[in-house]
């Protein structure tokens, strides 16, 4: 089955630290980064042999870093995020050094609440998670209370799932995954089934954890979840096609600096300028104008849909009505409108 390898390694760690001891075990590798080195993952057995989920992916994640992974369905972003979480698929070549994340499987929150809830109520769920994390029995009830409270579920702790909304269920899964500190948290499209309010609650909580020093891998298809300064890795057709800051991902790099693009020529990485010319015909035509060639959004290369606001910003830039850096967040747009007269 999946993950045998990581389990064996987890066993070794346990022998050193003793059963039931610290779960949050950075061991002696402290702040060493998590490294994915030239990993290729093949598709499931029985299917086409050529199906490759991930191709020669190389990625480094530092302790305490926030990493947003974007890509369309089937691009390989889930495979990548599970790799980062320490779930090793069977047909894999390459090396993964888990570094700061330790050898156990990191907490991961998935898209569907129903697949990841094992108790009947939020409280049971958190207790269940803590039990299997080996937290001493006498501490469990305190830690549980705290986790439920943080997730805003204190009042609903004993309600069965049928009476909770999808967002509340997802918050319970989140509370269970994060009840005990871990150096790495993976959110695999955890907000895709939620509306904006619930998403904000989950997002805020994840940002808080990040502020406390937890590395977070945030997998999403929703570009409005990108922060302008977040590190963004875009995955397309199993390859890492972009690794850089959010704003450059959306609008292209302002000064034509292509350093932000992952430098593996063989893995299909293409600089922003090249992308511009490649995609100009396919919906990105606004980028090539009489005013010259603007840096083009790597986002198009990843096959993602440009949102209304992105198109608007790009168009305004083309018309010379707005200059780089283009706005990304709600606040930045406020500034644009705020200064543009009432």
């Amino acid at each position: 089955m999946r993950g045998n390898r990581s389990l064996m390694e987890a066993a070794d760690v346990d022998k050193e630290s003793g059963p039931g001891a610290a779960v949050f075990d950075r061991s002696d590798r402290g702040g060493a980064p998590l490294e994915v080195d030239c990993v290729t993952v093949h598709g499931g057995e029985g299917e086409d042999e050529t199906a490759v989920r991930l191709q020669q992916a190389t990625l480094t994640l530092a302790a305490g870093e926030w990493l947003t992974v974007v890509g369309v369905n089937g691009s390989g972003k889930s495979t990548l995020s599970r790799l980062l979480a320490g779930l090793m698929p069977e047909s894999m070549s390459g090396v993964v050094r888990r570094g700061f994340a330790g050898d156990g499987v990191s907490p991961i929150v998935l898209q569907q609440p129903r697949a990841q809830l094992f108790g009947e109520t939020p409280r049971e769920e958190v207790v269940f998670a803590l039990e299997w994390r080996g937290v001493p029995a006498e501490r469990i009830s305190d830690v549980t209370e705290e986790a439920l409270h943080r997730a805003g579920l204190a009042a609903l702790a004993d309600e069965p799932w049928e009476r909770l909304s999808g967002g509340q269920q997802q918050m319970a899964a989140f509370a269970a995954a994060t009840a005990y500190p871990s150096p790495l948290l993976v959110m695999d499209e955890a907000t895709s089934m939620l509306d904006e309010d619930n998403r904000d609650v989950v997002m805020t909580r994840a940002r808080e954890l990040h502020a406390d020093g937890t590395a977070v891998v945030w997998v999403t298809q929703r570009l409005d979840e990108l922060g302008p300064d977040d590190r963004v890795v875009a995955v397309g057709e199993g390859r890492i096609i972009y690794d850089g800051r959010g704003r450059e991902f959306l609008y292209g790099s302002a000064d034509g600096d292509s350093g932000s693009v992952s430098g593996q020529a063989d893995s299909g990485a293409i600089g922003p300028g090249t992308v511009g010319r490649l995609e100009a015909g396919a919906g990105g035509g606004e980028e090539v104008s009489d005013g010259g060639v603007w840096p083009l959004s790597p986002c198009l290369r990843a096959g993602l849909r440009l949102s209304y606001l992105m198109e608007l910003a790009l168009e305004l830039r083309r018309l010379g009505k707005l200059r780089d850096p283009l706005p990304v967040t709600e606040r930045e747009w406020q500034i644009v409108w705020g200064n543009a007269g009432k």
Binding site: G74, G167, A173, D229, L309, E311, E330
Partner: protein, 616 residues
Amino acid sequence: MDGIRWRRGEEESEAFRTEGLVFTPGSIILLMGANGAGKSTLLEKIAGLRPPEDVLAAYGPDAVWRRSRLGRSGLRLNGHSLLSYSYASQAPEEGLFARSVSDELAYSLRPYGLTEETAKLRRQEALSAVGWNSEEWLERDPYLMSGGERRRTALAAVFAAPAPWLLLDEPTAGLDGAGHRMIARKLKKQRSEGTGIVLVSHDSDWALPLADETLLLATDGTVRLCSREQLVRHPEWLAEAGMRVPEWLQSAHRLWKSGVPAELTMDPAAAAAAWRVEQRSESAARVLAGAVVDSGKEANGEKQAELDRQVGEDQETVGERKASEARQAREAQETSREREAEEEQKSLREREAVERKAGTELKKHRQLGAARHRLAGFDPRSVWLAYALVSFGLFALRDWLGLAVGAAIVIGLLLAGRISLRRWRGLIVNYAVFSVMTSAIFASGAGSEWAVRGEAFTDTLLTFTRTMLILLLGLAIPLVMSPLSLRRSLEQMTSIKGKSPMWAQRGILAVALIMRFVPVLLELWERFAKIIRARGKMLARGPIAFGRKLRDTALPFLLALFRLGDEVVLALESRGVGGIRTATRAQRLRWRGRDYALASGALLLALGLWIGFRSG
């Protein structure tokens, strides 16, 4: 075409009406609402896939539900109305079951009884609508396709049906940019050909520009019908319906306020062109650059101090002017800070609202909750023991009289525990049918004389009925106890000196999880049954149709099951289950007085049954 209850006219304040909501063919209606407001539910009601409650939908003269002639059973689905729409659920590709694209298309086309020529034409059109122009796609097997291709196949099957209405639930979720453009193109084409489209989509900035009309579904079940231009002018209507106003719509609103005509705000290119450049926008760019740099070096103490000083100066010496750049930078900072505070408050309010809502729900369900906790207060071990004892007693029953008493006891226990076996309805009915059939088959083989046969029949049936009584009680247990407490009880029973062996722990966890996921599986089954009903347009009548439906539902169900299993394994591993570590236990169970009472009561009951009916 549709009469939907609870609906609100355009701008009037409190002019709620329940009749006369009509959608015209050849338009796209976007259904918007907060999570849990019931968008998908409403769509399913329109499609007749769930009981209509108050919603009475009709396609032209064909009402989806008709009063049954028998009266009693209430409403009956109108088979003809099902032909009026083609429905795509969320993630429609999960409903695929055929081995080739052409089979999938044929399945969707079959209910319409088209001639071979028209069918061929529809197939071609449907394929080209999803960007496949070559016939070779028809032979492809959906299971060997990528996720995106499977979605295309499913959508092609939806587009293929020559229905006057399209009901689409999140058709673009997870699709790439090209997929979005493709679907938009197809929808516009369908509209121009007179097809009516009801659309549910999270991607409001993609969907709203397409929509002729928007239906805002509020959390209280009321509905507001408006045009997209009205929404640009009144984004607060979304907030009134319990939704967040999306950022893009806020920007579109600002554009409109600054003089861009509302019709143009939907198209980024046109909006950008129509937006007046003002002198200040030059500096706006610079201010933004400043703000961006600032946010880059957040929490810069010095900067903050300087800013505070500036604010102070500004207040003290009113006439003094700073360089305009610095001032604007500060304004930007201030607005952003105000904004932050505002947001904080907003999120606080929202959280309160959520909690309040949860509170009312709590109250609403208190009745149910009471039933739940009645047996939950016992030690699970005593419940198990009681169950075993009563089962033993029931097993001792040898004749129909005894069985009648046993049945009375079982029913009495269920009533006393206020346990409803509704969830297991299907299982119970199946078991009953199975018992009768098996008994009959057995009896027919027993002998040639009718008397012998009759005796064999009742004897076999007796055994089955006895088992059924025990089964009924057993089914009640997972309803009153959570699988985890069950696990705990079993674990504690198998433990020696507080540690249960690894194999026992594993096995028990597996059993507990299976029980936990039974309702999830039932839900999954219902979902696929719905999809197949919407596509196949047949109402199960007679065993053949039933069998066919079963077959068509089973395959996607099993596939979904594997996917679910995969995710469950993943989630379990990420929780640390399966590691070498032994789980600690948060609570130990304790026997209390009432547990003794329960167990001894069960013992008495069992003894009574055994002694009373042993001899027959």
